[in-house]
Amino acid sequence: MTSNPPDLVILEEIPFTVDEKGFFELLKIRPGSRHAAELADIFNEARTAARPKAAFAVAPVDDKSDDTVSIAGVRFKSRILAVNLKDANVAYPFIATCGQELEKWSSHMSGTLHSFWADTIKLLALGCAMGHLEAYLKERLGSAALSTMNPGSLEDWPLTEQKPLFGIIGGGAEKIGVSLTERMVLLPLKSVSGIHFISEEGFTNCRLCPRQHCDLRREAYEPALYTVRYGCG
């Protein structure tokens, strides 16, 4: 099957919207304490350097089978992705990153405390990129029913699928300075990849993730969902 190359959208002007007061609270640094001035300097440096970014493709879902789905001519092997996209005509493969600028900035940080602060800043910047991308897509599509899957999150859609994903979004990744190593690691490290799609039924990895003790769990684990919705083993 032939497919037109998907439209790429690059979001380079994503604001670093981290509230300074909340940031100090998060890191347990009390105002006026010995570390407060140090952290304020680091935070200001980071705020100036930060360029969180995201890229996504508007990609046609062009062929579906039970266990695979073809998006913009690239075949993905995942039953869950195939089922999730069964009513979708378009999918939005994406990459979001804290940006190379912060990565470079943080390379001169040393010691546990400063490294931890810099890491937290980079994660928050990645959060800005992810949040901005989601809000942008919701507004553009006029729908709040945006769901996400990430390669490597579930056994059904393994990490090796970063490769086909890069087949679609690779040009955009390059523009925002994200690369994929042979071992499927995204660089800068504070980056994520995935596919956004519209689903009235809604989907989160959490519902299929058995992991206990996760502070970030958004929904309960539903072991039966594999069989009920996805017809797997």
Partner: protein, 213 residues
Amino acid sequence: MKESILAVRNAIDTLDLDGIGTIVNQCLKEGLSPEEIIREGISKGLNIVGRKFEEGEYFLADLIMAGEVVREAMPILKEKMNPGDAKSKGKVILATVQGDIHEIGKNIVGMILSANGFEVIDLGVDVPAEKIMDTAKTTGARLIGLSALLTTMVTSIRDVVETSRRAGMRDQVKIVIGGACTTETLCREMGADAYGETAIDALRIFNDYRATA
């Protein structure tokens, strides 16, 4: 228990970076030995913080700050100790396995170990097995902690085990694994020596290895 020792524990628990120096000096002035201050004050204080972290009351930032409070106290105590007694508990190499980038858990383990007297050599994330064993050779470290969160990358644990075997060092090193996708069963499958579910387990395991070394 002396009030001043309790104050040490409390300073760690309340992350009182600005107060700990005065409190430790007060303990010394009252005639408490540095060893006692470490054993009854610092270690117990860290245990409180560690427990609160495991129970979800404290977050990573609290642990890091508690580590800083301890770091602030240690030079004052070391100065009063016999050089022999101030020795580190030994070197531990920590790494997130090749192909994996998750490092928050590893960093917590590193924090707890170094606050408890181990010398931590943190090699970072996505670390090849060869680099780990080369570091073991050059530094003399015999304790290795591996962190893995990505299910697909657990085979990297076996790579480390195999590399140590090829280097003729399998009997000399202890390879401990942890991270959300690891289990006791996986530990056996990969041929590692021990599995720890939490950072506190990591401390217990490395302490045990040290005691039997």
